[in-house]
Amino acid sequence: MSLKLNNLGRRIDDRWILRHLDLEIQNGECLALVGASGCGKSTTLRIIAGLDQADEGSISIDGIDVTSTAAVDRKVGMVFQSYALFPHLSVAANLELGLKVRGVAPSERQQRVRQILQLVQLEERASQKPAQLSGGQRQRVALARALLRDPMVYLLDEPMSNLDAQLREELRPELRRLVLRDQKPVVYVTHDQHEAMAIADRIAVLRDGQIEQVANPIELYKHPASLYVAEFIGRPQINVLPPEQGVIKAIRPEALKLQAGGIACELLHREWLGASQIWQLKSHLGPLRMLVGSDQTVPESIQVSWAPEQEHRFNARSGKRLAA
C-alpha cells in the first residue's frame, strides 16, 4: 500500500519541466522533495493532487491507477504554501466548509471540527478569522483541514516557508507527528535541505525536472550520487577541488583537519556557530571551508589535510559519483 509515480513527465510547450520521475512512497513514510526553485517539485505535488495533469506516466494510490481520476476522488490532504485559508470565514468555518461540500451532516461536521481543533490545540481560536492568527497557528489550521479530509495521501507544499526559523524548528516534530498519525504516505516539498533532513525518512533531490538521487538523509549526506547532490545537501557547503584528470574531489568541511605538512592555507574569515566555527581559508586549491571546534585557536601557520576515505570523487564531465 503506497503512492507510486511511474515515469511521470510534464511538458510546457516543447520543454519538459518534469521527466522520468519514478518514486514510491510507503504508508507512514515521509518523503521530502527538494531542489532549487523551478526544479519541478511543486509541479510534481500538483500532479499528484490532480490540480495539474501529467503529459506522460502514471500515478497509483494503493495500487489503483488514479492518473486520470478527478482531484476530488484522489482524496489527498494538501497543505498549501500560502495555507489557502478562506479569509472571510472563521477558523471553525474554514474547517467545516470542506465537510459541508462533501455532504457531511451538520452534527457530525461540528463534532469532527471540534475534535480536530483539539488535536491541533486551537480550540480557543475557533471563532477567530485567519487574519487574527499567528503564522504558526494558520499553518496548524491548514494542516487540520488536510487531516479532516481523511486522505489517502498527504501533500505538503513548503508548509514552513512562511514561518520564522525558530518556529520552524519548534513545529517540525509536531508536524511530523500529526501527518504520520494515520500512517499514510506523506510528500513534503521544500527548498530547504536542512528541513528535509530533519523531517523526512527519505529525500528525493530534483534537478531540472529529473531525480538526481533518492535516499535516506544519512545515505544522501555520506554517499551523494552526484556532485549536485553533494553541493545541495549539507551546510556549510562541501569543498569542491579543481578537476584533475577528469576527476573532481569534494571534501566535507568537517573532514578537514589541521595537520603539519598539509596544504598551506591563509585564514580569510572566521564564523562562530557557538558549538563550532567555520574557517574560510584560501589555498592553492582555491577557497576551502573548514568546520572546527569552538575552542580551536588559530595556529601560526595553517596546514590542512584529510583522510583519503573522506574524499568524494565525481566524474568531472557527468558529475556522477565514481566508485571508491
Partner: protein, 286 residues
C-alpha cells in the same frame, strides 16, 4: 503630518464646501427675476414650496427608478463581464480593451448616438424594424417607455466602469483558495458562492456606491438624449434644478431643489450602506 493635508483640505473647501454652503444660504432666499436677481430672505418659503412641489417629487421618483434599475443592471452585467475577463482565453487582452470603449466616450457624444439609434423613423433601430416589417417604434416619444431607453444608454456606458472595479477585485482572490476547495470536490457554482462572491463583496459595495451617487445625479445623458421629455417623464432632479435656474431664472428655488436632492441621495447611500454592512455581518458562517 496633518499639516500635509492642508492644501488638499483648502482645495476641497473651495470646490465642495463653499458652493454647498452658498447653496444652503441661497435656498433660504428668494432670488429670481421677480426680485431683480437680488437675494431677499424669505423665511423658508422655498422649502415649504419644495415639500408640496409635485414636480419635485415626481422627478425624485423618476430619478430613483432610473438609479435603482440602471445600477442593478450595471452591477449584475459587470459581474458577468468581470468573470469572463478574468478567465484565460485567447483574445482576452483585446476584449478587456474593447470593454472600456463605452466608458471612454464622452456622455454627450454617446447620448446623441443613442438618440439617433432610437430616432423615428430614420434611426437604425426603426430601419431594422421596417426591414423586418415591424411598425416603427416611437421609443423616445412614449412617456411609458422612454425612461427605459435612458436606462439602456446608461447601462451601456457605465457597465465597463463597474466591471473594471469588479475585475480588480477578482484578481485579488488567490487561486489557491479555489484549488483548496476543488480538492474537497466543490463545483464551480459552490466555488463562486463560497469564495468569489463573499470576497468580492467589498468591491461590489464600492461599485454600487460609486454608481449610485453618479446615477442619482444624472444630467448630461438625459439633457442630450430626451431633454427630460416626453412630458417630463425622464426629467431627473439635477435637470429640474437646472431648469429652475436656467429657464425660470429662479436661483433660490434651484438651490433648494439641489440641496433637497442632495439630502435624498445621502439617505439613499445610508440605506444601501446599512444594507451592505448587514450583508457583511452574515459572512463568517458556513
Amino acid at each position: 503630518m496633518l499639516l500635509l493635508l492642508v492644501p488638499a483640505a483648502i482645495l476641497l473647501a473651495l470646490v465642495f464646501v463653499a458652493p454647498m454652503l452658498h447653496y444652503v444660504w441661497l435656498s433660504a432666499h428668494a432670488n429670481s427675476v421677480l426680485t431683480g436677481l437680488v437675494p431677499i430672505p424669505n423665511q423658508g418659503a422655498n422649502w415649504i414650496r419644495l415639500v408640496s412641489d409635485q414636480r419635485f417629487w415626481q422627478d425624485a421618483g423618476q430619478t430613483l427608478r432610473f438609479t435603482v434599475v440602471s445600477v442593478s443592471l450595471e452591477v449584475l452585467l459587470a459581474l458577468a463581464i468581470a468573470l469572463l475577463l478574468d478567465q484565460r482565453w485567447r483574445g482576452r487582452g483585446a476584449a478587456r480593451a474593447l470593454t472600456l470603449i463605452p466608458w471612454a466616450l464622452p456622455t454627450t457624444v454617446m447620448a446623441l448616438g443613442w438618440r439617433w439609434i432610437f430616432n423615428t423613423p430614420y434611426g437604425p433601430l426603426n430601419q431594422t424594424a421596417s426591414l423586418l416589417g415591424v411598425a416603427p417604434l416611437n421609443i423616445l416619444s412614449n412617456p411609458a417607455i422612454t425612461w427605459m431607453a435612458t436606462v439602456l444608454a446608461d447601462v451601456w456606458k457605465t457597465t465597463p466602469f463597474a466591471a473594471l472595479i469588479l475585475l480588480a477585485g477578482l484578481q485579488t482572490i488567490p487561486t489557491d483558495l479555489y484549488e483548496a476547495l476543488r480538492l474537497e470536490g466543490a463545483s464551480q457554482r459552490t466555488c463562486f458562492l463560497r469564495i468569489t462572491l463573499p470576497l468580492l463583496k467589498p468591491y461590489i459595495a464600492l461599485a454600487l456606491l460609486f454608481r449610485l451617487a453618479q446615477a442619482f445625479g444624472v444630467f448630461d445623458l438625459v439633457q442630450v438624449m430626451t431633454g427630460g421629455g416626453p412630458a417630463s417623464s425622464t426629467e431627473s432632479l439635477a435637470l429640474y434644478a437646472y431648469i429652475n435656474a436656467m429657464r425660470f431664472l429662479d436661483f433660490g428655488y434651484s438651490a433648494t431643489v439641489m440641496i433637497g436632492s442632495f439630502i435624498l441621495l445621502l439617505l439613499l447611500c445610508l440605506i444601501s450602506w446599512s444594507f451592505l454592512i448587514r450583508l457583511q455581518h452574515r459572512t463568517g458562517r458556513v
